[in-house]
Amino acid sequence: MSDIDVLLVEDNPDDAEFTLRALRKANVALRVALAEDGVQALEFVFGTGAHAQRAGAALPRVVLLDLKLPKVDGLEVLRRIKSDPRTRALPIVVLTSSRERRDIQACYLGGANSYIVKPVEYAELIAKLGDLVRYWLQLNETPPP
């Protein structure tokens, strides 16, 4: 059984706070981990480096991935997770401010399971993340650990 429902990969602390608040509004019991850059995200997923104690631990049920990240960017994180047989099944929802065609295209080609544009309005963010939690964690069956 997964110990983490959502791995949120977000470098902007304000955005991270809004997303965490919005997720909590959708479901208070949600277990969320935060990675602040691409390296932390990969170490968390693969159980290496700072997250070596997670080696062999179950994967989060879904990853919310920002694209613009320091060190290793979101597209590269996506590519590494989707090209490793151990993590390929992990659902990845891209959550970004970019509405650019080329970003959307690149994410789907890289194996993203969903692509969501961060709304400017906080109320809209709450609504979107509520839908997201309902779909990916309640309606949808996530891959068995």
Binding site: F18, K68, E100, V120, E121, L125
Partner: protein, 364 residues
């Protein structure tokens, strides 16, 4: 021979003659002798004379021939001299001509070299400017893209924290605090609109366009119908005439109609009976469209500023909008190889835009 015979004969006769004959007979004899001598000599003399005459005649003839020859020679020499003079003259002329031609060729070659160098310089210059311009455009696009995206993050933060404040701490806000929070939210919303406009603008610059025949009447009607759903336009009298078809990018042209019609609706809204009329016709290799309203109009002094990004001719609180629509509209029209202009007075405003009747290729 004659001289050899004569002394012999004379010697034989002379002693007897002197002795026997009288002086008369001697004289006669002498005469006779003389005659005979003469008779014997005369043929020779005649022959000699004849010969001499012939010689003289021949000499005369020769002299004549010589004179004729000399005359002919003289004439020939004159002619030759004349011809030589002519040829020399012609030659000189030719030399002059050759020299002239050589000089012309030289100056032509020089001009050619100069021209080639100028041409090369110009091409270098153009290539340089083009790459400079391409770089600048790319930088500008990257800049506006980055601005649009990077500006969104703090805006999201402002909006988000204001919303949390309103939602979770409303009970601790008094009327003044609430009004201030409202101002923060209004400005954040305005900023969001500006950024959206900027994004639209930079997205259009990078968008590829597709050319196809477009039914402008249907397009304008569709857009007008959508906009008529707005409460502002509920009472508007909107007419759309026969419109010529064009070749262009339909989504972009839809945006042109949307911007012009919504502007017309927006600015005619304060009138008791707002009127918007859309007409169009083909003329002089162009198709021209007109969107006429009876709205408040604008000051023609600032007509040029109409189409600039973020330029507005009215106060923000008079009419909504951020000043991107017309800039976008003009950019689309220009991309189609057309032009756009506006006229206004206190009775209303007309926006005209002209597109090429059948654009073979559009400048991207």
């Amino acid at each position: 021979m004659a001289t050899a015979a004569e002394p012999e004969t004379l010697a034989a006769v002379s002693p007897a003659a002197l002795a026997l004959c009288s002086r008369r007979s001697r004289a006669r004899h002498a005469m006779d002798l003389l005659f005979r001598l003469l008779a014997r000599l005369s043929p020779r003399v005649a022959k000699l004379i004849e010969h001499d005459t012939a010689l003289a005649a021949e000499l005369e003839e020769r002299r004549n021939a010589e004179a004729a020859l000399r005359a002919a020679y003289g004439e020939l020499e004159t002619r030759v001299a004349e011809r030589t003079r002519e040829v020399t003259q012609a030659n000189e002329q030719l030399q002059q001509e050759i020299q002239d031609r050589r000089r012309t060729e030289q100056s032509l070659r020089y001009s050619e070299t100069l021209l080639r160098r100028l041409h090369e310089d110009l091409e270098d210059h153009i290539a340089e400017r083009t790459s400079e311009l391409t770089r600048t455009i790319a930088e500008l696009e990257a800049f506006s893209y980055s601005i649009s995206h990077d500006l969104r993050a703090p805006l999201r933060a402002i909006n988000g924290f204001a919303a949390i404040l309103r939602e979770e701490h409303a009970d601790r806000l008094d009327a003044d605090g609430d009004a201030l929070l409202m101002k923060i939210e209004t400005n954040a919303a305005k900023m969001a609109q500006l950024i959206d406009g900027l994004l639209d603008f930079s997205r259009l610059a990078r968008a590829e366009s597709v050319s196809a025949e477009v039914d402008m009447a249907a397009l304008a009607r569709g857009v007008a119908l959508e906009l008529a759903g707005d409460e502002r336009s509920r009472t508007v009298e909107l007419t759309i005439g026969e419109l010529p078809r064009v070749v262009g990018d339909e989504p972009m042209l839809r945006q042109v109609w949307a911007n012009l019609i919504s502007n017309a609706l927006k600015f005619s809204a304060p009138r008791a009976t707002p009127c918007v009329a859309i007409t169009g016709e083909a003329r002089d290799g162009e198709v021209v469209f007109h969107v006429r309203d009876n709205g408040v109009g604008f000051d023609m002094t600032y007509a040029e500023k109409l189409f600039g990004v973020f330029n507005r001719l009215h106060r923000a609180d008079e009419f909504p909008g951020v000043g991107v629509g017309l800039a976008l509209t003009r950019r689309i029209v220009l991309r189609h190889g057309g032009r756009i202009w506006a006229e206004s007075n206190e009775e209303g405003t007309v926006f005209h835009f002209a597109l090429p009747a059948a654009p073979a290729r559009r400048a991207a």
